[in-house]
């Protein structure tokens, strides 16, 4: 065991302590009235608990805690030692040794532990209130949080989380240290810093006790402070800040503003009321001063009842609480300022903004051609405004994926019953937002994937147990942002995909000849090939083999991509990448022959002058790109079905694009600017044309086709 391995040391140490405990208990049997033996038994248990809890042996710590508490009762004279305590102590010792031996407790060992604790509780009813020690529950109930004066951060964070339900409270803390404060080693500045860490503070210092310089004792504390603290912490936590200086200072803490709206009379208290509640003056004195019909504060100071510092502090308090209440009311009002809008109106707004963007492109072109500076500057300003309008409109259209994900719960519940499986559904990132239309069009593909997972992926409980997995399978659906895309990941811990079976089926179906060499990834891709299904007997759950190819084309129709990964025996992961919004894309405008194309900017890695590119020495269809070889093809020959001599490629540009980790180069004749546009569908007739996925109208009213980069890279890599 190396010196720097505390868990290993702990095992050794606990072993020794348990041996000692055993010896002590046996001696106790002979001499029950030996307090030093009781104390030693207690201490052994206490050390095992303390060090164990530090090292994460939670089960051990919570068990030992109760046994230790029984010995504490005897040690403190609240209970008598008995033969049964010694017997139970010995059993507990064995149980602790058993926990140490195997971190994963089996049911029987756990049952033994429960039985020992039950008997202890029966013998010592005072133990009933003892339970598992947990740091978090302690700070909530017992007041003093983990760290006292020295480390306020820990106090602050503990309390902030536990006291959050009660909302924010504003306290007025009057902190007047006695002169000898410094002599007990306390630093008031650190206390103020600690308070500041609990929440928002206003700290008002008073110098009124400061004597003349020749009377000043440099080791005495003359200053005092009023602190207004708005915090989620409870009063006890605030009081705890002062626990080590309680005797060295006068401390008064009052709650002056609760977090609820009921008492949110904006005006708060009159200055006189504040002064009275601070215990500085009596109501009678206030009444007398008010009768003078001048500023109350002035009168009180004049009369020598108060210092101007004290009046100022009260004024600051009044201002502060008013400010808090105003903020709160405004927030409450704002939270109600939302209206419901018919989604069709939103849709048409988004469409109009899209048209706006396209129309502006025309204006920008006219402005550029005209060479008119004024027109150009108007056009440019318009462009930035349109961009803002577009962002706002898009934002209106976004909804959390929760809308979609929450419908899966019922589906999983019903389906798993029907299939006789035990499944736990885990939803993550449900607040990720996507275009509402995208979410609607994702519903069917997602349902299909989840059905597949439940039907083919997750095994029946008994089979899982045989495979050494928990009975209950886990299906996880998680959404997260990834650049201009949202990544949705559906994963299960089921049986995974059998690549050989996929391979054989593909050969059977004539999708492969059987001679191909394929990467695992390419084999998984086959699952999404048209007409592919691995189960011969289609169940009524996942349908009849129309499955994954339809799912893929749906997702590609959304401008997204799907990617399957699996480990046999361990599960399957399906990654779906979806653009944040459908309506508008930012693309790179290029020309191939006399036709314009748009390449989604999200896919473009780089544009390179083809004449500067190094071709691979033997395979002319590969180029060197950043240290690796990348396949490329000429779009001209791709679209014109010409066989593609590469001799004319001299002036061409190479656009390196990637999708789903596949990188290819595309040869084009000319590269223009980036261009934002609404993508129009090509209509039913042309929706399956390979290589293009839509069309856009250019500024000069000509048409550009949107390249289907996902499809092109897939072809390119296979090429």
């Amino acid at each position: 065991m190396s010196a720097s391995d505390p868990p290993a040391t702990f095992r050794e140490e606990a072993g020794e302590l348990l041996d000692r405990l055993e010896a002590v208990l046996i001696r106790l049997e002979a001499t029950p009235d030996a307090p030093e033996l009781i104390d030693e038994a207690f201490r052994s248990l206490h050390t095992i608990k303390g060090s164990g809890s530090m090292l994460g042996f939670d089960e051990l710590a919570s068990f030992t805690h109760i046994v230790e508490a029984a010995f504490a009762l005897v040690r403190d004279g609240h209970a008598k030692i008995s033969g049964s305590l010694i017997e139970l102590g010995l059993q507990a010792r064995d149980h602790i040794a058993a926990i140490m031996a195997s971190p994963e407790l089996d049911d029987q060992t756990r049952g033994d532990g429960e039985r020992i604790l039950e008997q202890l509780r029966a013998a010592y009813p005072a133990l009933a209130s003892e339970s598992r020690p947990q740091a978090s529950s302690v700070s909530a109930t017992a007041g003093p949080a983990s760290v006292a004066i020295g480390s306020a951060d820990a106090v602050g964070s503990d309390v902030a989380t536990t006291g959050a339900s009660g909302g924010e409270t504003t306290f007025r803390i009057q902190f007047a240290p006695k002169a000898q404060l410094f002599r007990i080693g306390a630093n008031p500045i650190l206390l103020l810093k600690e308070l500041r860490e609990l929440g928002e503070t206003v700290i008002i210092g008073f110098t009124d006790r400061l004597p003349a310089l020749d009377e000043l004792d440099p080791e005495a504390c003359y200053l005092r402070w009023d602190i207004l603290l708005t915090t989620e912490a409870e009063e006890n936590a605030v009081r705890d800040v002062f626990i080590f200086v309680e005797d060295g200072a006068e401390i008064r803490i009052d709650e002056i503003d609760g977090g609820n709206l009921e008492d949110s009379d904006i005006d708060y208290k009159r200055i006189g009321e504040i002064l009275v509640s601070r215990g500085l003056v009596t109501p009678e004195e206030i009444q007398l001063a008010v009768n003078e019909k001048r500023y109350l504060g002035d009168v009180l100071v004049e009369k020598g009842l108060l210092t101007s510092d004290q009046v100022n502090a009260a004024l600051q308090e009044q201002q502060y609480v008013r400010g808090r209440r105003e903020t709160r009311q405004r927030a409450a009002a704002e939270s109600q300022q939302s209206i419901k809008v018919d989604t069709r109106k939103l849709d048409s707004l988004v469409n109009l903004v899209g048209e706006f963007v396209a129309e502006h492109a025309t204006l920008a072109q006219i402005a550029a051609e005209s060479g008119d500076g004024k027109l150009t500057s108007v056009s440019e300003r318009l462009e930035s405004l349109i961009r803002e309008v577009r962002d706002v409109a898009m934002d209106l259209h976004m909804v959390p994926v929760e809308m979609l994900f929450s419908t899966f719960r019922r589906l999983v519940r019903d389906l798993s019953r029907e299939l006789g499986k035990e499944v736990r559904l885990q939803l993550e990132g449900t607040d990720t937002e996507l275009d509402k239309n995208v979410i609607e069009r994702l519903r069917d593909p997602m349902l299909h994937i989840i059905r597949n997972s439940l039907d083919h992926g997750l095994e029946p409980p008994d089979e899982r147990v045989r495979a050494g997995k928990p009975r209950e399978g886990t299906l996880r659906v998680a959404a997260s942002y990834s650049g201009a895309h949202v990544l949705i990941r559906v994963s299960d811990d089921g049986g995974g995909i059998n690549r050989d079976a996929v391979w054989r089926k593909a050969v059977e179906r004539g999708l492969l000849t059987g001679d191909e060499e394929m990467e695992p990834q390419e084999i998984y891709d086959l699952i999404c090939a048209p007409g592919f299904s691995t189960t011969d007997t289609a169940t009524n759950v996942s349908g009849r083999g129309v499955g994954m190819d339809v799912v893929r084309s749906n997702i590609e129709g959304l401008g997204g991509s799907i990617h399957i990964d699996s480990e046999e025996g361990h599960g399957t992961i399906i990654n779906i990448r979806i653009p944040l919004t459908l309506a508008i894309v930012e693309g790179l405008l290029v020309r191939v022959s006399d036709q314009y194309y748009l390449v989604n900017l999200a896919n473009v890695l780089e544009c390179i002058d083809f004449s500067t590119v190094n071709r691979h020495s033997s395979d002319r269809q590969l180029v060197e790109y950043r240290g690796s070889l990348v396949p490329f093809f000429d779009l001209d020959s791709y679209f014109s079905a010409d066989d593609g001599s590469d001799g004319s490629a001299v002036d061409k540009q190479l656009i390196v694009v990637s999708s789903d980790g596949r990188t290819v180069g595309l040869l084009v004749d000319e590269v223009y600017d980036t261009f934002q546009s609404v993508i129009k569908s090509l209509g039913k007739m042309y929706e399956n044309v390979p290589g293009v996925s839509g069309a856009v109208i250019l500024g000069d009213r000509r048409l550009a086709l949107m390249l289907d980069v996902d499809r092109l890279t897939r072809n390119g890599v296979r090429h």
């Binding site: 017992a142 003093p144 020295g150 480390s151 820990a154 650190l190």
Partner: protein, 133 residues
């Protein structure tokens, strides 16, 4: 290791007192990684013999044979060597009475087990700051 803790610190010495070897190891790891120098003692008596003027902070367990934590605090405060050294006592939450006793004996702060690494560092750093004031 951790710049937040290790930076511009002239290897301050911390005396850790605990009868549990694994606790001492753990505290040593946490503190030395943060740039502190560590002296270990296995109980109160041992600690008193190792307390010197150049110790910046004492971190002590309460339940120990020979001389327990509260007795140690009392002895340090009543002694001649480094009597105003900041003392952090480690308690478990079942020891609220001990915590009181520790405070009354003159401990500077307490930390409840189980604690996180950063909590120990913060506590040690803050109480050593306090005396520099």
């Amino acid at each position: 290791m951790n710049p937040e803790w290790g930076e511009d610190r002239l290897a301050e010495k911390v005396l850790i007192v605990d009868d549990s070897v694994s606790m001492r190891q753990m505290e040593r790891m946490i503190l030395t990684q943060a740039g502190y120098e560590v002296v270990e003692a296995s109980d109160g008596k041992d600690a008193l013999s190792k307390l010197s003027a150049d110790i910046s902070v004492v971190v002590t367990d309460l339940n120990m044979p020979n001389m327990n934590g509260v007795e140690l605090v009392e002895a340090i405060r009543a002694g001649d060597v480094n009597r105003s050294v900041p003392i952090l006592i480690l308690t478990t939450e079942s020891e609220s009475e001990k915590k009181r006793q520790g405070k009354e004996a003159g401990a500077t702060a307490w930390l409840t087990k189980p604690f996180e690494q950063h909590q120990l560092l913060k506590a040690v750093r803050k109480i050593s700051e306090k005396v520099r004031f």
